[in-house]
Symmetry: C2
Subunit: 244 residues, 2 copies
């Protein structure tokens, strides 16, 4: 459907809202390459006339597309097709229990350690806490259908989650508990591939020296480091995957 400058485009008579049909139309023109990156698209007034709707309806369509980063608006100047920003791949890493259940499999876990930890000075530096502060330490192995897929080695700031040791980690994951105890503010992460140390390999029930996918995750709440976690996954049976 090519539309001449001043022609009128009929909206379909389905119960799809007008603003949504206009959004779809604009996305379609971009997708087809009719409107390319940087091009100006018709003004709100022009689109309102074209679709025989009020300007507010067009405004909503265009405003939403611009908040979704498909369009860029400049007051007084016009609306333009945004630059394809995607130079990056966004990877979403879900909590392990949630992920396993989403696959329709059974998640279970085994608590290997839950105690007031004996942190190194280096760890205190990472937490930015004084050596006097108590840090809790837990080690949990997560299973998918009885097969170990993650060793979660976690340190927790006792000031932000004082009841950490009292949790029942067979019914709630540390992640879930921490989310409720200390609202998340910032996350730093790192993903690497390393050879499994013997201690980890044993817990994952894989042969020593097999590659592991490791996620380091530091969560910050209210300006303080809430938790530092290292999650080890057997390279031969676990990977981060997804789409968008």
């Amino acid at each position: 459907m090519t539309t001449n400058k001043n022609s009128i485009t009929k909206l379909s008579e389905t119960d799809i809202p007008a603003f949504q049909q206009i959004k779809d139309h604009i996305l379609d023109e971009i997708q087809k390459g009719v409107w390319k990156e940087g091009d100006a698209i018709p003004s709100e007034a022009a689109l309102a006339k074209q679709f025989s709707v009020s300007r507010m309806t067009v405004n909503r369509a265009v405003r939403e597309l611009s908040s979704e980063q498909f369009l860029t608006r400049i007051q007084g100047s016009g609306t333009f097709v945004a630059q394809q920003k995607y130079q990056a791949t966004l990877v979403e890493i879900k909590s392990i229990a949630e992920e396993v259940r989403a696959r329709g499999h059974v998640h279970s876990s085994e608590l290997h350690l839950l105690e007031r930890g004996k942190p190194t000075l280096q760890l205190h530096q990472q937490f930015r806490t004084d050596p006097g502060i108590i840090l809790f330490h837990s080690v949990i192995v997560h299973f998918e259908n009885q097969i170990p897929i993650q060793v979660e080695d976690r340190w927790v700031n006792s000031q932000l989650a004082p009841a950490y040791l009292q949790q029942n980690f067979s019914t709630i994951t540390p992640n879930e508990y921490l989310m409720s105890a200390a609202p998340l503010q910032e996350v730093r992460y790192r993903i690497e591939a390393v050879t499994a140390p013997a201690r980890i390999a044993d817990m994952l029930e894989i042969s020593h020296n097999l590659p592991c996918l490791v996620l380091h995750r530091v969560t910050i709440s209210g300006g303080q480091v809430a938790s530092i976690a290292t999650m080890w996954h057997p390279g031969n049976r676990y990977q981060f995957a997804g789409q968008f």
Copy 2:
């Protein structure tokens, strides 16, 4: 500022738009714990009265907060404070050249292969193409300050990027070229840790059997698979990292 049920709240006379002030007010109530997860917040009509604005203005505030996942709306029922969201870690993987340059280092690359490929049947299945279709194949090693950090093994659908073989990949990365040739629609990815095959280890200049961080990435454009790439990184000197 605690507001009684029927009291009128004055909007400040700055030039901050009314809908934004209402958004801020609602977020504030949630932040302070006045409205907790699952609680109903006042109806649009009530908020309109409270702030002495039209319902459409309140509607915009509440609609945006709901698209930002702070609120949940149920038609006929009400508006509720959403459940805390982040169970997930979002990881952003930038294009390799961009990433290296962002670190202030020098990116360079070495073209090992660029040809009309000889795809296996399995590869054609992944592309969802007939065996008659031409698939291009390239292998490029990327360096950071002369040290190899990525082997990019890529297959490209010739129908979507017919000029692939004519590109000068010392000045543009395949990723960058493909972005301009075929507007991106969908991406699927997979990250895993594997032992480097000899061929890859040699290109990365690491000893055989060292763990590698591997990113598989399938990009889809206009309903067709545009490109399938496998990116190998030496586990001992490369990791995905970031924050948000």
